[in-house]
Symmetry: C2
Subunit: 154 residues, 2 copies
DNA sequence: TACTTAAATAGTAATTATTCTTATTAAGGA
DNA sequence: TCCTTAATAAGAATAATTACTATTTAAGTA
């Protein structure tokens, strides 16, 4: 599930560039936290990121994780995945894509568009203001959970 | 912004029917809480609903509001509006529609589809499991906030 | 390279939304 | 009207996130 190191290095270079652009310091905490989100396909929550970062940086504080995630979000480097759960989850993938949320296990799956496919805005959407982004969430029961249901019945 | 009383009465009748169907009691608290959500276009949060219900029922407890909202959600009578804010917001409108969320003032606007218009599922969506519902959130800056920005500049 | 300074951090306390606990009340069937 | 048990009020508890403050450190400058 991990992206190869070249891609990751590029992403960190991007973080450095963006930080400099915004007059923000490139701290090892920021690098480590961003690295974790950028390298994960699991749409991790703050706690998961904190636990993971703590392995390399035992003194990192929860506050730093939350603060950094907020900064990265401000810089448009990561995004919050809409979910109806108490824990916010994050995504560093800027390729336009949607999400399938399993209502049973809460797993989030990326839905990438086929080549040529594009998201259609409802015609009335523009009437309300200036659109920044569109977000499609599909809720349902994922294959893994459906399988488990079937297994229990037999 | 309030729906007329006939529509509201119908909705409450619907609540009675659904409660009976599910073997649940029709308590005045439930009626009042549902009435507030069904009668509002503002996608209120639990606290707002609590404050409003308290005017008629001063002894109602927060817990009852949360519990009732959860029951109504279980019955598919109300829905949670995806937002990236700490407070959950609710919607009793079952007509298929989307939402425009203002990132400045956090107002939620309903986007109804034009006749004949329909939501298009991404082709890959079905690959992940059984779809229950699709939810389109459009984030941006609403006209009111855009106007205020312009006013400040002059 | 060392010095300086403000931005960022660690550690911890505080806050906010929501949920749980328990004794009490009341809906609705008999 | 009575009985049963689901639902409630009140307040305590929890979970996620944010705020506070003393300390550290990134990075610009001499």
């Amino acid at each position: 599930m991990h992206k190869n190191n070249n891609v990751l290095d590029e992403k960190i270079e991007y973080l450095r560039t963006m930080c400099k652009l915004k007059g923000m310091r490139v701290t090892p905490q920021r690098v480590e936290i961003y690295k974790h989100v950028a390298n994960s396909c699991e749409h991790p929550d703050a706690e998961t990121i904190y636990e993971s970062v703590k392995e390399k940086m035992p003194n990192v504080s929860v506050d730093t994780v939350y603060r950094t995630l907020a900064s990265l979000e401000d810089m448009d480097m990561i995004f919050r995945v809409d979910n109806q759960l108490p824990k916010a989850r994050f995504d560093a993938d800027k390729t336009p894509h949607h999400h399938f949320l399993c209502v049973k296990c809460n797993e989030v799956y990326d839905i990438f568009l086929e080549p040529g496919e594009k998201v259609e805005l409802p015609k009335n959407a523009e009437r309300f203001g200036e659109i920044k982004d569109i977000n499609v969430q599909i809720r349902g029961i994922c294959n893994k959970c459906l399988q488990e249901q079937t297994n229990k019945q037999n």
